[in-house]
């Protein structure tokens, strides 16, 4: 953990994880990059547009034996919609993502680059079109391709493993297995490929607490 002040506005900022180099200042929305002990303002980040997501920074939940807290978010947009990726910091210091799309949630953990077969890796790197319904192997599990599309960053907040300014483009491939498993392969503008794998979950499955309240809506029953 590192407590510091924003190089742009001087507001206090806190880096909760030593592995996450980027923090978007809560006050002035400046993206602050940490290199060693140095903090550097690297640009302004657009405010995340209001949505009716029940998730917010500070939501706590569980994935198996480990509890987590959401500490960052990137909102992505594509031609026909938008979704959120929430960065989860686990109690063991590791991180994962909670994907949130059309009211459904994916609990995802990073898959080491060795989890992608070389042919899959080179195929994704090539940027060639991926057939919907085709089969890809990630971390020894076979997934079918749900969709594959180019997505653009709309906004980001909190702590992040990379700088996510407006207009950042990524190729995103969504995968799923018959039994509720899911995975995501992302290729960034520089051709770097990252893979994540996990499961579809509900808020109840995550035992999510500290959710946003909405006027007139009862909180989910699992909290009772």
């Amino acid at each position: 953990m590192l407590d510091a002040t924003c190089p742009n506005c001087g507001a206090p900022i806190r880096f909760r994880s030593n592995d996450l180099p980027v923090k978007v200042c809560d006050y002035c929305r400046t993206s602050v990059l940490r290199t060693g002990g140095n903090l550097q303002a690297i640009g302004k980040i657009a405010e995340v547009p209001d949505d009716v997501s029940p998730l917010q920074l500070g939501v706590r939940g569980r994935d198996g034996a480990h509890s987590f807290e959401l500490i960052g978010r990137v909102r992505w947009r594509y031609a026909d919609g938008a979704w959120n990726e929430w960065l989860a910091l686990f109690d063991d210091g590791s991180t994962g993502w909670v994907g949130e799309s059309t009211g459904r949630y994916m609990m995802l953990r990073p898959v080491p680059s060795s989890g992608l077969a070389p042919d899959v890796l080179s195929f994704v790197k090539s940027g060639r079109a991926i057939r919907i319904g085709g089969v890809l192997t990630v971390g020894a599990i076979e997934y079918s391709v749900n969709d594959a599309r180019e997505v653009t960053c709309v906004a980001s907040e909190g702590e992040l493993p990379f700088n996510a300014p407006l207009g950042l483009k990524t190729m995103s491939i969504d995968l799923m297995t018959p039994d509720g498993g899911c995975a995501s392969i992302q290729r960034d503008q520089d051709g770097e490929v990252d893979a994540y794998a996990g499961r579809y979950v509900s808020l109840g499955d995550m035992a999510a607490s500290n959710l946003r309240a909405f006027e007139g809506w009862p909180m989910p029953a699992y909290r009772a």
Binding site: P49, D51, P54, G81, N146, P178, L203, R212, F214, P220
Partner: protein, 465 residues
């Protein structure tokens, strides 16, 4: 960072009221109020005032397709909330779709914590649809398995078009949009696969009980009718059929028990006498026959086992000792044998059994009158053939005539075989009726895929009041 000033109340103790999920925006085409109920998730909004399609992914609600048409109003208005299965859902979108034979309605439901669901209305019944986050596994013969439950393919893939849309959706919706749909069914549930060029989605549709959706969303309850069942509609006769079968089996078992035990006849009297062939009539009386039940079945057995080419007429009169009321009947013991060009033959029953039913309880006497006769039509090989000189003569005494021992036995109780059969048929009637109704329903349920279709009367199905 704020200057130290006396603050009457720390800000943190006055939490801001939770935000509403509804944003009221104005339609750039008609200026009417457009309520966006799932901001951030909604992609398309169709203005309920002018029908224009608006792009909800842009803050200015850019018009994608301008329209100024008279809109249909969904039966459940947009914004209505209802509780189904313990979850609150809000109607945010409505569309009508067709497979070119029938039109049905789909309401898009939203809950900020649960996501989306579909309320599908086929005009008769409602189904609640949830998009699957897992895939069914393919089995043999166009069958699927999901969560250990089997589903059978219902027909072939068919195109589905959107014919009308209003409200908001999390995808780009447009009239004319077509997907290829394939249905798999089991009683009460349908798995529906929708494929477009870019996506394949699976939805699980659970048929809701009659009146559940109507009550939840405050619309009049639909009348129960089963003339046009949904493909995933469980037969309303199935439970009845099960009950009828169980009752039938129990009744049948009872019937068998009754016929086994009650079938045990009890001997209450017997006598043996000699009948003189072509001799005078003889009368014997069996006295003191006791019939304790209010109504009894009485069986009179005669056994003239030794006769051949002769017959014995038996007249019975069952007489109540008190009232002298009598019931008369008769039996005929006969046996003939011989040989002709076809070989040897025998005919006749030397042990006739006579049944009397519903005899009132009491003490009875059975008066039996016998007369035995020789038959001379048989061949000479007959073992009892006598010289014709003996026949028909009454000048010989009793001991001079051929005698035949006849035993008459009286029994009570027992059940008529005919009654058992009748009871069996009566028991079978109800299960059979239900079975036919069930098969009729199943035939109608599968009708859309069994060829002729019969969609010409779809309109007449909905106009009952």
């Amino acid at each position: 960072m704020q200057p130290a000033a006396p603050v009457p109340q720390p800000v943190s103790t006055v939490p801001a009221p939770p935000p509403s999920t509804v944003r009221a925006l104005s339609c750039p085409n008609c200026g009417g109020i457009v309520n966006v109920r799932a901001q951030g998730l909604t992609v398309s909004v169709l203005c309920e005032h002018c029908g224009s399609t608006l792009d909800a992914t842009r803050p200015d609600l850019q018009v994608i397709a301008r329209a100024n048409e008279a809109l249909k109003t969904p039966q459940i208005p947009l914004g209505t909330r209802g509780t189904l299965g313990g979850r609150v859902w809000e109607v945010v979108g409505y569309m009508e779709r067709t497979d070119e034979e029938i039109v049905w309605a789909e309401y898009l439901l939203f809950n900020p914590y649960e996501g989306y669901a579909f309320l599908v209305d086929d005009g008769r019944r409602f189904s609640l649809g949830i998009m699957l986050d897992r895939l069914p596994t393919m089995g043999w013969g166009n069958r699927l398995t999901l969560d250990d439950q089997g589903y059978s393919g219902f027909g072939t893939p068919y195109p589905v078009h959107v014919t009308f849309v209003v409200g908001e959706f999390y995808w780009r919706v447009a009239v004319g949009e077509t997907v290829q749909e394939t249905d798999y069914v089991r009683p009460g549930t349908m798995l529906s696969c929708e494929e477009s060029e870019t996506e394949r989605t699976w939805t699980r549709l659970d048929l809701l009980d009659w009146g559940v959706a109507e009550k939840a969303f405050g619309i009049p309850a639909r009348r129960r009718e089963y003339s046009h069942p949904a493909p995933h509609e469980p037969s309303p006769y199935k439970r009845q059929l099960g009950e009828a079968m169980i009752i039938g089996i129990v009744a049948l078992f009872t019937l068998m028990v009754i016929s086994t035990f009650a079938g045990g006849e009890q001997q209450i009297g017997q006598t043996t006498t000699d009948a003189v062939l072509d001799g005078p009539e003889k009368t014997v009386v069996i006295r003191g026959l006791d019939l304790p039940s209010a109504r009894s079945r009485v069986v009179v057995d005669a056994d003239a086992g030794a006769i051949d080419n002769a017959w014995v007429d038996l007249d019975y009169s069952l007489t109540d000792e008190k009232t002298q009321d009598s019931v008369d009947t008769y039996g005929l013991a006969e046996h003939y044998s011989g040989s002709d060009s076809d070989g040897s033959w025998t005919e006749g029953d030397p042990r006739p059994e006579v049944s009397l039913s519903s005899i009132p309880g009491g003490k009875y006497d059975l008066i039996v009158t016998l007369s035995a006769h020789r038959w001379n039509g048989g061949s000479s090989s007959s073992s009892f053939s006598m010289p014709t000189g003996f026949a028909g003569s009454s000048i010989f005494g009793q001991d001079g005539g051929q005698t035949i021992p006849v035993t008459v036995t009286v029994k009570r109780g027992g059940v008529f075989g005919g009654n058992i059969l009748l009871a069996f048929l009566l028991i079978a009637i109800w299960p059979l009726i239900v079975l036919f109704k069930h098969f009729g329903f199943e035939k109608r349920r599968m009708a859309p895929i069994s060829g002729s279709g019969g969609s010409d009367d779809d309109d007449s199905g909905g106009d009952d009041d």
